[in-house]
Amino acid sequence: MGQAIYNILVFPGLFFLILFGWAAEFIDRKIYARGQKRVGPPWYQPVADFIKLAAKEDIVPEEASATSFKLMPLIAMASAVTAFFYIPLWTTEALFSFYGDIIVVMYLLTIPTLTFFLGGWYSRSLYSTIGAMRTLTQLFAYEVPLFVVILASALLANTWSLSEITKFYALHPHLWIFNLLGFGIGIIALLGKLEKGPFDIPEAETEIVAGSFTEYGGRLLAFFRLTLDIEVIVGASLLAAVFLPFGLNLTPAIGFVIYIIKVLFIVILLAVLRTILARFRIDQMLDFCWRYLAPLAFIQILINLLVKGLLLR
C-alpha cells in the first residue's frame, strides 16, 4: 500500500512527472529561442511561471458556469497523470497493466483535449468559443492517424496491452524498423495533440488571443499549463514505449538513463519542428491529416500485416 502511494505520488508518478515536464518545457523554449538567435529563458523559468500563476487571483467570468470552469483543469491533469501509470517506462513492465490498457491510455490522453474544449466552451467568451471549436475540429484530424499507427504496432505484437507490446519488441529487437513510418506519423499527430508548432491553431495568439484559455487566469491557468507539460512527457513516453523499444532488458539504472534519452529525443524533435514550421490554417491542417497522414497510417497497418504474415510465421 505504502509502496503504491509512493509510486503514484513521487516516483515514477506525479512529482517526477512535474519535474520532468518542467525540464521539457525549458528545453522546448530554449531551442525555440536559439532558433530565433535569442538567448532564451533561464532554466528556472517554468517553475517561476507556475509559482507566479499559482499565487495570483482566480477570476471566474460572470457568464461562465463556475463549477465546470473550475473543475476542467483538475480533470485534465488527473487523466494525463493516470495515463502515465499504464505506460512501460524503463522496463517491460508498466506500474499497472491489464489486457486492453492500450485503449484506456489512448482515451485518457484524449480527455485533456476534451477539457480544453469544455473549459473554452463554458467560459462563454467569443475567443474561447472559437478556440474550443478549433480544438475539437483538430481532434478529429490527428486522433485517427495516431490511433491507427499505435494499433498497427499492437497488431504486429498481437496483443492489446502496452506491457505485452514492449515485451514482444524486446524479444524481437529488429522489428521496430518496420514501425518507423508509424513513428513519424505519431510525432506529427503528437504535435497536433499538444497544440504545438504548426498545429497551434486552437490557441493562435495572432488570431484568437489565447483560444480556449482566454478567460483562464491564476491557479486554473497554472494547472492547464502543467497539464500540457505533463502531456508532453506522457505522449513522448507512449511513443517511446511503442516505437523505440531499446534498452529494456538492462539494469534499471541504465534503462532509466536510456528512457530519459529517448523522451528527450522526442521532446527535442517536437521543439525543432515547432521552430522551423509556421502555423497552418485549420482547413489546411484537416486537409493534410486526412489526405496524407491517415492513408500513410493505413499503409503502416498493411506493412505490419505483411510482416506478420511473411516473417513471423
Binding site: R38, Y44, Q45, K52, I59, A210
Partner: protein, 144 residues
Amino acid sequence: MGLIKKIVTWGRTKSPWVLHFNTGACNACDIEIIAALTPRYDLERFGVLLKGSPRHADVLLCSGPVTRQIGDRLKRIYDQMPEPKFVVAVGTCACSGGVFKGCYNIESGIDQVLPVAAYIPGCPASPKAIIDAVVKLLKSLEES
C-alpha cells in the same frame, strides 16, 4: 510564512507577463514596445512574455495620453486583470499628456485614470528605456 512570501515574490519578479494596450498613442511608442519584444532585445531572458489576454497578464504597458473615448475601455481592461497587477506608462504622452497636454479630448496621462507603477519618459521611449523600467519595477517589487 516568510519563506512562502519570499518564494512567491521570487516567482513574480522572474515571470512578468505583459499586455500591451494603445490608449491613443501616435503609434511610435507602440512600435518601440514591439521592438523591445523582438529577438534583438530578447525580453524572454527576464521571463517577459507578451500575452494577448488581460487574464494572463501581470503588467499593463500603456502608451498614449488616454483619449476620452478610450478611458472607459482602459479601466475595463484593468479590471479584467487578476491581482497583483501593475501599470507602466510608456512615453511622455502616457506620463503627462506630452504634446497633447491640455487638449479638449484627452485625460492627460494614465495616472488620471489608473494607479501607475512606473513612468517611462521619452518621445518615443526607446526599447532600452522600457527594459530598464521593467527591471527597476521588478527590483522595487523585490524590496517591498
